[in-house]
Amino acid sequence: MNGAAISVRGLSCTYPGAARPALADLDLELPHGALAVVMGASGAGKSTLARCLTRLVPCFTPADVTGDVRLVGASVANRHVGELAGTIGMVFQDFEAQLFSTDVTQEVVFGLEHTGVPPAEMPGRVARALAAVGLAGFEQRDPTTLSGGEKQRLAIAGLLALRPPIMVLDEPTTDLDPVGRAEVLRTLAALRGEGLTLVVIEHDVAAAVAADRVVFLREGRVIADGPAATLLGDAETCAAAGVRPPDVTRVFAALGLVDPPLELEAAAARLRAAGVVPRPPRFLPRGARVSAPLIALHGVGHRYPNGHEALVDVDLELRKGEFVALVGRNGSGKTTLAKHLNGLLQPTAGQVVLRGSRMAGRPLEEIAEDVGYVFQDPDHQLFASSVEDEVAFGPRNLGLAPAAVEARVAEALDAVGLHERAADPFVLDKGVRQRLAVAAVLALGPDVLVLDEPTTGLDYPEQRAMMELLRRLHADGHTIVVITHTPWVIAEYAQRVVLLADGRVRYDGTPRPFFEDDALLAAAAFRAPEATRLGRLLGCTPLSVEELVAWVPQRTSACP
């Protein structure tokens, strides 16, 4: 086939009432079979671009759209979303919203029925689509019993059966654990092998490394477009786009080396060739082990009413002033464990002790003043019409006097750096909403803060802001427990890692030995941060780029 699979010329898009266009005069051309990864901070226009390609904008979400979009040579102007079903497919982050059926086969058949595919042709198409996403053998399963990664792959199969030459994936792995991410990335590689043109919107650099093309968007414009190695190898361009550069890139930049290879082995070889030999100090600083236990779990087990044993014989002590990362695959018991820390769940075996007294039987709202819990999705708790009312909700529930409520609100908003007190929470960016959710819990005055995946769904600058906020709260004396899948969050912020597997504690200690134990990491389907893996290839175990660079002795300036 000649011509481009996707050709976009002068595409502009403005939503009604928006101050600035979501897309401004955007040009993009992708050849058949390309894997393009589109990156950028939130609000850069990534999703809008995807939706303009599929015609969800303006057919579904009204907007003023101008410019020319051609898919496989044909203009999409005046076409409906449904008409393009066999031309372009699109997968969302929210996989639950894309599944409509009670078994896997029905789910894949669904789109075929609506596009008039003859029933005789269906079994063959279903089998091929399921095989392509690695779900052969799942035909009779109920989609609600699948894991997140399996659900997302099923959503892909449902579109794949329509045989579109182009597929757009809008943050397909954001809500998945490392196992699910790896599954979906493998599926992408398989689809590419079948010759599909893929456009993937991603925050995670790991997904972009394999791409033919990387496109950085900022404020509705393409600010960089080229091979992965060129864009991701340039720390400044990444920073301009609000993208987290690969650790290798930052290491090379800090050492004054150019053209970083994105492949770790090659990068290590280049560093060795350049005479870079990190020399870690003999005594590495260890997390301060301190003070009395705040919360203690003794032989805690939890069995759900359906018989599932989520926790088995867990012994754990949380001490004042700790910063703990709770890690493990989805379904390993992390959230179940976290909900025991504030009484949301009661152990079915053993006991939980808070400040020396048993937690069982104490009312939740009383425990909430000791242990705050921030849910993964801020939208599960925001309901008020203004930021200050949202934060005041908790203190008012405690029955505090108006002056005391006001003091708590001011303190909590100050702590998270939010100053638009009258703003409507629902129009704030996701990252700001997440910080507001933290403020709302902080206002109850807890010593311990438990956060379920506080960085999920945020772009890199927002993720940093969230983690720096937690670091400040920790420095102010709060005890922090975060559930997370993000390696650099653990390595750079946590003092202690608790790894759960099948409801049991598999590791409990400092991060460095955790990231050195390959067998443990493999069992947990976990990877060390890139900086750590790069360091290990060079014979040391740094936890961050800064640490690795600091360990490299200053070289005498190169000969002229």
Binding site: V81, T102, E113, G116, H380, Q381, F393, G394
Partner: protein, 254 residues
Amino acid sequence: MPLTLYVPAPTALHRLHPVTKLAGLAAFIVAAFVVDRPLVLLPLSAAVAALLVSAGGLPNVRRLRLMFVLVFVFTLVVWTFFYGTVLVPTRAGFFYGLSTAMRLDTFLAAGILFLTITRIEEIAYALGRLGVPYTVGFMLTLAFRLVPVFFDAALAVLQAQRCRGLDVTRGGLLRRLRRYVPVIVPVLIGALRRADRMAMALELRGFNSGRPRTTWMRARAGGRDAVAGVLVGATAVVYVVLWASGTGRLAPLP
């Protein structure tokens, strides 16, 4: 926790044509509706119970046992004390209460039987075969599917708000209802957001592709369906005759 009632099992009842299943549900409801003499209702209730057990629906009954008991006891007590009187128990009231309680529990059991043996897609298929427009049938089945999703969301929101000191157990009814605002608002907004995404996902799967729809499901009505159809049809006819002849009815209030 699964919230749908379908029990995948290879029983003869499961293999019935969806239209037969729907007809059976309608027949049982009509039969239980027209008569109100407890002795006449008894064989019908027993038959529905037996079918429910043979379809593997016992776990569903166990899950909903509280509903069965509450409906039965409440109906019986209310009618016994308020049948043409106020707070005076009467014999006629007791029998009318007993029959109403049996009828309601039979409706419930017949409904559970239907959902135990019928996939949501089969319901849509049956409705389609009966001439109901596709989109209507689909929306109905989607509503079924969404119940567990929104139930989960509501549970998560309630937990999140309780962590912020929300206590929904204190105060009078009105105050309690007002306390639910912080739960209802996020659930509704979340539901709207998800509905929006679902609608987009539907469009992307060609829901309005403009092409004629095809149907993958091929339910074939067989001898089994003929037998079942005759049996449930006869049941409905017998009960209608019992009603028309008056033997199925209790004496009316004087």
